[in-house]
């Protein structure tokens, strides 16, 4: 019994030592390497103003009330009921992707950008005009290497440059 316990101690220590000397690491070297997410990852949302038919389904389905229909900044002359277009509010968006899934015209799409932070509150609210300009992008000091994550039998995850 007691002897067994000594062996258990030794086995634990040996396992630790094995990892100390042999086993590889699992770490993704962000920000030097950035994960290249597969298509369909629900990242920041892109919006195509041209194809939008202003059906406001996206605003209706959004669980967090993050998408709102905005009036254009200047209403074109003579239009009585100007069309509203969606703008997004990243302070609320939970990246559920419902808006993308419901948009009948594919105007909303996911990008794979996923690592953005902001310094201020206001810059996270995108009216349709800014929304159409594309998703916010993270600032890197130097261009990161894009890697693809591949499950691996030996080490769990492997990172391969694309």
């Amino acid at each position: 019994m007691a002897v067994e316990r000594v062996f258990d101690h030794l086995r634990a220590i040996a396992t630790g030592a094995k990892y100390l000397f042999l086993k590889p690491r699992l770490t993704l070297m962000y920000p030097d390497e950035v994960e290249d997410l597969p298509r369909g990852y629900r990242g920041m949302i892109t919006y195509n103003h041209e194809t939008c038919i202003s059906c406001s389904l996206c605003a209706m389905v959004c669980p967090a009330d993050a998408i709102k229909m905005y009036l254009p900044k200047e209403v074109p002359e003579g239009e009585k009921r100007p069309k509203r277009y969606p703008g997004i509010n990243y302070t609320r968006c939970i990246f559920c992707g419902f808006c993308v899934s419901i948009c009948p015209t594919f105007s909303l799409q996911h990008s794979t950008i996923h690592d953005v932070s902001f310094y201020t509150f206001e810059e996270q609210i995108f009216r349709p005009e800014e929304f159409a300009k594309g998703p916010p992008k993270p600032q890197y000091d130097k261009e990161p290497v894009k890697v693809r994550v591949i499950p691996d039998e030996e080490r769990g995850l492997r990172y391969e440059r694309v």
């Binding site: 634990a12 220590i13 396992t15 630790g16 030592a17 990892y19 100390l20 086993k23 590889p24 690491r25 699992l26 770490t27």
Partner: protein, 334 residues
């Protein structure tokens, strides 16, 4: 210039200031915490501190941490006992560092050559729990109080076997002088003559410096930071430093009394005498490495389990180690 160098190379200056004293202690302090984090990180399949200085694996992480401690505001809470709150960490730090001065750095190279340097060292070590306790009391915090009491109870556990196992080596060599003990190991290291004492002492280093699996006094998931809960800024740096210094001292002692000190001494290290300290230092590093490696392996014991390990396992083993020493002496000694 040469004079200054000569002066520095005097043992009574060299030992407290260079090795094993201030300079080395400080460097070890910076290195050991970094190493602890790196080793744990490696076992845990990650990198640990890195970006602070990427080419060197983040080796200066502790400098950044030190700077942060230094520039952080030391908060002195309202109801603490100011005197103990402020001075106990300082004295604790000083006390943990003090035992280095009786450690020899090389053959005959000692600051205080005493026939009982081992006892002096152990005696100085017994003083620090008093300060931990009074510091815990001074912090006026429930977690500190519990931590302080735990520390006190742990002292009762480790002190007797620590003395017994260290002194069983003294019995073996028939002397209490660390230098003489090292000289006696010229041929055979103490660890081979009395492996029992060596194992017990190694475990006791873990208990007395509060390393895993005996990190009980400042068990974070139970009592936040134990006695040091209220400490912020540089005070926290000091109290944490103190426990690592204690580890440093005990590791050097271990190297000296169990691992043959500076023996085997390569010829290029023989002259001047303090170069032999490198040997001791390397061996000490091994012990420190073992002690911090445990963090990656073990969770912590409960205090009652630790106490029971102390009294039911380590004390009998330590007593046995004395009989082992007596046996060796009877069979002809070293």
């Amino acid at each position: 210039m040469m004079d200054l160098l000569d002066l520095i190379l005097q043992p009574w200056i060299f030992i407290p200031l260079i090795f094993p004293g201030l300079t080395t202690a400080f460097l070890v302090l910076l290195g050991i915490i970094w190493a602890e984090r790196k080793i744990a990180a490696k076992v845990q399949m990650r990198y640990g501190p890195l970006y602070v200085l990427k080419p060197l694996g983040g080796a200066i992480q502790m400098i950044a941490d030190l700077l942060r401690y230094l520039f952080a505001e030391p908060i002195i809470p309202k109801d603490v006992d100011k005197l103990t709150f402020i001075f106990a960490p300082l004295i604790l730090f000083g006390l943990s560092y003090l035992p280095t001065i009786v450690l020899p750095a090389g053959p005959g190279f000692t600051a205080i050559s005493s026939e009982m340097s081992l006892l002096i060292l152990l005696g100085l070590l017994t003083l620090s729990p008093v300060f931990t306790m009074i510091l815990a009391w001074g912090s006026n915090n429930k977690f500190s109080l519990i931590g302080g009491l735990r520390e006190g109870y742990l002292v009762t556990t480790y002190e007797i076997p620590l003395f017994l196992s260290a002194l069983s080596m003294a019995v073996l060599y028939g002397t209490l002088d660390i230098t003489a003990m090292v000289e006696a190991q010229k041929n055979v290291w103490g660890i081979f003559l009395n492996p029992l004492a060596a194992i017990v002492f190694l475990v006791l280093i873990l208990i007395s410096t509060s390393k895993f699996p005996f990190e009980i006094a400042e068990a974070e998931s139970e009592i936040v930071m134990g006695p040091f809960t209220e400490y912020s800024g540089i005070f926290y740096g000091l109290v944490m430093g103190a426990s690592y210094l204690k580890l440093y001292v005990l590791s050097l002692l271990y190297a000296l009394i169990f691992l043959g000190g500076w023996y085997p001494l390569p010829s290029f290290l023989q002259n001047p005498p303090f170069l032999a300290g490198i040997m001791v230092f390397v061996k000490g590093l091994v012990i420190m490495f073992i002690a911090i490696f445990m963090r990656a392996i073990y969770p912590r014991y409960r205090i009652d389990q630790a106490i029971q390990i102390g009294w039911h396992k380590l004390v009998p083993l330590a007593i046995l180690s004395i009989f082992l020493s007596l046996l060796v002496v009877y069979l002809g000694g070293v």
